[in-house]
Structure formats: structure tokens, C-alpha cells
């Protein structure tokens, strides 16, 4: 087995298949919609067949009509102002709602959820140096994550609950209580890499893919925030709060995020067992901790997560030589403990 794990090919295959399907469906919709001026319908086929017969009797050259119309359609598709081009863009947009949500819309969902997170968990710890440190660790791992090309931001919030969660679009929260349970930078990197993995795998978005808001809507705009759609958007954010703050994501998504987190930490150069150390500590303090709204209630049982993480260790034979950085972390922890 290679000690240098790459990206999960299954995830990529799934994504590319979805994209391919969306494109095909968009084209089919377009062909159906523009049929009168493009590909002939059954009725029109009969007319063309009749025309062929007519041509044989010398009444007109309609046998060329199909290919000519198709060529005309392609010309129109290249014109950004044409009706056909707009129909295709609309169809693609609707398809993207069922497959992939564009980043701007994803971030709007994330920002709305982040506002609710302040309400639920507390405000950012008022310490710019600490916030900067967490962002440096976060970006170090994000740069080697499955999705390294979006602008992640990380924030420590004042909260007595041990929790960390990610909003779509890469806004990642960690509570001061969870920060206090850690001992090394590698542990922080592991937790942040776990949350980054949720964003990279688009786990939260997958959970709301069938939301009523996205029926007939491809992207979030000012227009979709008004009227019934606006209400449906609020319902969708409410549903996401329930998933991320109370119920938790699907257990398999959590196991997948743990696996990706170890891989990302290792690729960055942190000891990938950092995440496991945090899970061990949480297990130790579980009995005396508040469950509601914390990692204890929103994540699968710690013993099962630890078991699955241990199974990954043979992938990282040189992990003992990688960075842990307890001293640098201690300086920052002292700021939170003040």
C-alpha cells in the first residue's frame, strides 16, 4: 500500500458522472424546448418524410431541412443574446441545482448559517492573534485538502460546548471549550482538517439537495430571497441548523471526514494521529460533558470513530516523525484560558 495517499477516486468519479448527467439532461431539455426550430418532432418528421416524397415529385428541396436547422441551432447557441442560448443556460442552471450548487450560492448558505451559529454558540473570541493563529493552521491544511481552491475562514467562538462544525463555502467554527481540550497543533490541525473535509465533500449541501427552495431555482440571487422562495430559503437554513447543530450529519459522512482529515494532515506534514488524540480526550471527558449541541450528540460514537481511524494508520508508516508542535500550541491555549 502506498504511504502517500491521494484523493479518493470514488468521489471524483461520482462528481464527474453527476456533471456529465447534468450536461446531457440540459441538452435534452434544450432539444425538446427548441424543437420547432431545431430537431424535428414526430409530427415534423412526418412532414419531412412527406416533403421527401414531394421532392421526388419535384415540389421542393425539404430533405436538407433537418441538418440545416441543426446548424442554425448551433449558430444560435453561440450567440449570447439568443433565446436558445438563454434556454440552455437556464436548463443548465436548474440541472446544477440538483447536481452541483455554484460557489457563490454555497457561500450564501454558509454565511446565513454562520449568523445562526453566533446566535446558538456565541461570539468570536476577541483575540485577533488567536484568530490569526487558527487561520494559519487551518489554511495550512486546507491548501492540501481535497478542495484547496476556495477561501476558507476559521473562527474560535466563546462557548462552553465542545464543538466544531463547518458551514458550506468554507466558514469553519471551533468552540473555545474544544480548543481547551487540545494539547498540540497537530490536534488542532486534525479537527480543522475534519471540518474542511465536510466542506470539500459538500456533505451539508448533499443533505439539503432536495430542499423545496431548489425546485426550479439554480442559484441564489436577490430575487430568490423574496416571497415564497425567501421563506423556503429560511426553512432550508432552519433544516441545516437542525442537522449541523443538533442531529448531526450521516454517520458515513463523519467517517469519511475522519479519513480525509488524517490524509490531509499527513500531506501537510502534521502527525495524522492528532485527530485521534482529540477523540481520545473527548472519550475520557464524555461522561461529565454537556451532550446537547456538542460533538458528542452530532457525531458518531467515539469508540467507533477511533477504531476506524486506527485502521488507517498503516497508510502513514512515518507518522511518528511528523510535526506535533505542543509548545507553539501551548502559547495560544494560554490566551484562551485567560
Amino acid at each position: 500500500m502506498r504511504p502517500d495517499p491521494g484523493f479518493d477516486p470514488e468521489v471524483r468519479k461520482e462528481k464527474s458522472m453527476k456533471k456529465g448527467c447534468a450536461g446531457i439532461w440540459a441538452l435534452i431539455i434544450l432539444m425538446i424546448t427548441v424543437c420547432p426550430s431545431g430537431t424535428p418532432s414526430a409530427k415534423e418528421n412526418n412532414r419531412v418524410k412527406t416533403a421527401v416524397n414531394e421532392e421526388s415529385t419535384g415540389s421542393g428541396p425539404l430533405v436538407e431541412e433537418g441538418p440545416l436547422r441543426l446548424a442554425g441551432l448551433l449558430d444560435k447557441l453561440l450567440d449570447p443574446e439568443s433565446k436558445e442560448r438563454k434556454i440552455l443556460e437556464g436548463a443548465t442552471s436548474i440541472m446544477s441545482a440538483t447536481g452541483e450548487i455554484d460557489f457563490k450560492s454555497e457561500r450564501t448558505i454558509g454565511e446565513s448559517l454562520a449568523l445562526e451559529a453566533f446566535r446558538r454558540y456565541g461570539m468570536p473570541v476577541n483575540d485577533p492573534a488567536l484568530q490569526k493563529y487558527v487561520n494559519l493552521v487551518g489554511l495550512a491544511v486546507a491548501s492540501n485538502s481535497l478542495r484547496p481552491e476556495i477561501p476558507y475562514v476559521f473562527v474560535v467562538v466563546e462557548s462552553p460546548l465542545q464543538n466544531a462544525f463547518s458551514c458550506p463555502g468554507g466558514i469553519i467554527f471551533i468552540s473555545s471549550a474544544l480548543f481547551k481540550t487540545m494539547e498540540t497543533e497537530a490536534q488542532l490541525a486534525g479537527v480543522l482538517a475534519h471540518e474542511i473535509a465536510h466542506v470539500a465533500h459538500k456533505h451539508a449541501l448533499k443533505s439539503i439537495k432536495r430542499a423545496r427552495f431548489f425546485q426550479g431555482v439554480g442559484k441564489i440571487t436577490s430575487a430568490t430571497m423574496k416571497g415564497d422562495k425567501g421563506k423556503q430559503f429560511e426553512d432550508m437554513i432552519g433544516n441545516l441548523q437542525n442537522i449541523l447543530f443538533d442531529k448531526g450529519l450521516d454517520q458515513n459522512m463523519e467517517f469519511e471526514a475522519d479519513q480525509s482529515a488524517m490524509k490531509t494532515a499527513y500531506r501537510t506534514g502534521y502527525n495524522p494521529t492528532g485527530l485521534m488524540a482529540v477523540l481520545e480526550e473527548l472519550k475520557r471527558i464524555e461522561a461529565g460533558s454537556t451532550k446537547k449541541g456538542s460533538w458528542f450528540s452530532t457525531h458518531p460514537p467515539l469508540s467507533e470513530r477511533l477504531k476506524r481511524c486506527r485502521e488507517q494508520l498503516p497508510l502513514y508508516p512515518d507518522q511518528a516523525n511528523l510535526a506535533q508542535l505542543p509548545e507553539r500550541f501551548k502559547e495560544q491555549k494560554a490566551r484562551v484560558l485567560k
Binding site: K104, S112, I150, P151, S222, T224, M225, R267, T268, G269
Partner: protein, 169 residues
Amino acid sequence: MKTKHILGAFAAFLCFFISTAFAADSQWVASEGAKLKRDHAASSETIATLPIGTEVTVLNSEKSWRYIRTPSEQEGWIYRGRLSDSPPEKEAAGTENLFGSLTGSRISADEADTGRSIRGLSTETEEYAKKTGTPVSYQKALDRVLAMRVSEEELVVFLRKGKIGEYAP
């Protein structure tokens, strides 16, 4: 006849083994700010910064470093964590990069105003906040969180000080 079949199968297996054992290993650049170095050390001269998605041929390895050839025939060393076994998926046009800057070549005309790093909350989020009666203090707090920026240089200094990854001794 049976011996011939066994010999044939063995020859086929040998051919397959030799071809896979000696085939150059293709990998892809999968991290932001991946540097191609003259030698297998972070302190060595940087030959190029390789964009995400560049397919490279791995020719050799030394501990945590890989000696690679790029499509433009440049050869050098890269830290193993910067590579993956399969091509990474590209983000759509108009997305800010990891450090919050818009890269010109990937901006589509209709999304060129996505200057979140300067503007803070999106207009749609502001609309959501207004409708739900979200306190202004929460909006301001999120504005500050979104405005937090780390430059590539700051990240390099941070990794070097911590002796992390390619900066490990």
C-alpha cells in the same frame, strides 16, 4: 499443449510486470502554492510554482520528496504532500482562491464583482439577516471573520517556523 499455455501465461505476466514496474508514475499537483525546487530541500532555489491540476511524471524519490518532470519539460523536486494520485477537481470560474484573491484568468464576466474580501457579507445574506431580524452585532462579527486574510508569504513563514512538511529537517 498445456505447457505452451502455461509458458504463454507466464510470458504475459512477465510483460505486464515489467511494463508496470518501469512505467513512469503520473501524478497531479493538488495543493495551492506547490513549489518546484532545484534540490530536495525547502531552502533550495525555487524553479517554478506549479498550478493545481498540472500532470507531472515522477522520476525518482528521496524521503518525502519526489523528483518530477512537468509538461513543459522542467525537472526538479517537489514535496510529496503537494501531489496526488488522481487529478483534482477545479473550482468554477469566479471563485476566490485559498488566500481570498480573485485570479484574473478564472473570473467570468458576470461574476467579476465577487469581491467578498472587501465587501464582507453577500447582499443575499444581508437580505436573510434583515428578514430574520438577525442582530447587527452578528452581521458585524461575520464581516470581520470573512475579512480575515492570511497571505501566502505569512503561511510559508508559519510552516517554516513550525518545521512542518517540506520545512521539516
